[in-house]
Amino acid sequence: MSVNVRKKLFLFEEVFHEGGAPADQPLLIAAAAAVVTNPFAGRYVEDIQYFMDELKPLGMEMSHALIQTLGDDAGRIDGFGKGAIIGSGGELEHGALWHVPGGYAMRELLGDSKAIVPSTKKVGALGAKLDIPITHSNASYVRSHFNSFEVSVPGAPRHDEMVLVLVMSCGPRIHARVGGLKANEIKGEDGLR
């Protein structure tokens, strides 16, 4: 069985300022959402882990698309996050299947990314919105990169679908000024600092 993708949605946001002085480099955020059939909708299925492997090509494809959207330079990308919205016929646990194929694809394509990919998930209706957390891709504690991005797909997920989301970003929050660890201070060894 392969993954049945009904549609994909791509979002790209450029942030120039938020009331303060415009930054030299705008903050760039890109999200990719795939609406896939949930093969386990409508009943309890004990063994679901095999679906993680089937989702791996989709994770790679979406990650490639995000890198392209952000200027085709993986070296500039320094933030990421992921999430899932499960349609009403499914189970929260089905969204957890996205952790491995989504997370590992982004890490692989971003090269030496060490940090955990932050995530959130929920069961939701058509058009449900999900706030995807974003953190620095090499050091989770970089304070200027704690961010998030709201994603929704009109008309999805239907009851037997899941919306699977990946997010990548370039740069800190546009007026970051609350101190803490900076991106240029990280050691990048343990994924935290």
Binding site: E18, G19, G20, R43, Y44, E46, D47, I48, Q49, M52, G83, E91, L92, E93, A96, L97, H99, V100, I116, P118, S119, T120, K121, K122, K129, L130, D131, I132, P133, T135, S140, Y141, R143, F146, N147, S148, E150, R173, I174, H175, A176, R177, V178, G179, G180, D190, G191, L192
Partner: protein
């Protein structure tokens, strides 16, 4: 107290059955929220230290409220998360000032441990805006059964000059975890990751 609080709201969610299967004991998550005045609404303020101090106050207050709502001993808490919704006359960075510099330490004190990063989200919003608070294991971020989230909202907040601050705490992971990975039982909880 530095924060001007208009109201608190606490939500507890207990899952007893999922897709026809009994969950025993039920999984439980709680989010405590404070609706506060945004002292910097309507203008650009360079120094955000007042909001950082407010974050410290709320880490303690909301952490204790969430634990109390679950009716557990603080040591029984298993995962946590935090979030903020800034009303339209504020700025996203106001949420960052509340959440990141000082909120974590008093929250960890209220839970009596917390080696892992507190996962977070923030957004600009209006009355009744929903926010998905991310959840992660409080001592070992890679515990896969505890990757979760909780959607919350306050129907009449945030007004344009308000901020909704959220702290979520659980005593459990997802209802029927079976996607493998590190488990709560196997986590060492020393480095915050595993």
């Amino acid at each position: 107290m530095k924060a001007t609080v208009r109201k608190y709201q606490t939500v507890v969610e207990e899952t007893l059955r999922e897709i026809g299967i009994d969950i025993d004991p039920p999984t439980r998550k709680a989010t405590a929220m404070a609706v506060i005045a945004n002292p910097f609404a309507g203008h650009y303020q360079e120094d955000l230290s007042l909001l950082m101090d407010i974050g410290a106050e709320l880490g303690d207050i909301l952490g204790r409220k969430a634990v109390a709502a679950l009716g557990i001993d603080p040591t029984e808490s298993q995962s946590y998360g935090k979030a903020a919704i800034v009303g339209s006359r504020g700025e996203l960075e106001h949420a960052a000032a509340i959440l990141h510099p000082k909120l974590g330490a008093p929250l960890r004190a209220a839970l009596e441990k917390g080696a892992a990063l507190v996962p977070s989200v923030k957004k600009m919003g209006d009355l009744g805006s929903a926010i998905d608070v991310p959840l992660g294991h409080k001592d070992a971020a890679y515990v896969r059964s505890h990757f979760d989230g909780m959607e919350v909202r306050v129907s009449d907040a945030p007004r344009a000059d308000e901020i909704v601050v959220c702290v979520a705490v659980t005593d459990s992971g997802r209802p029927l975890p079976r996607v493998g990975g590190l488990t709560h039982e196997d986590a060492e909880g020393k480095d915050g990751l595993r």
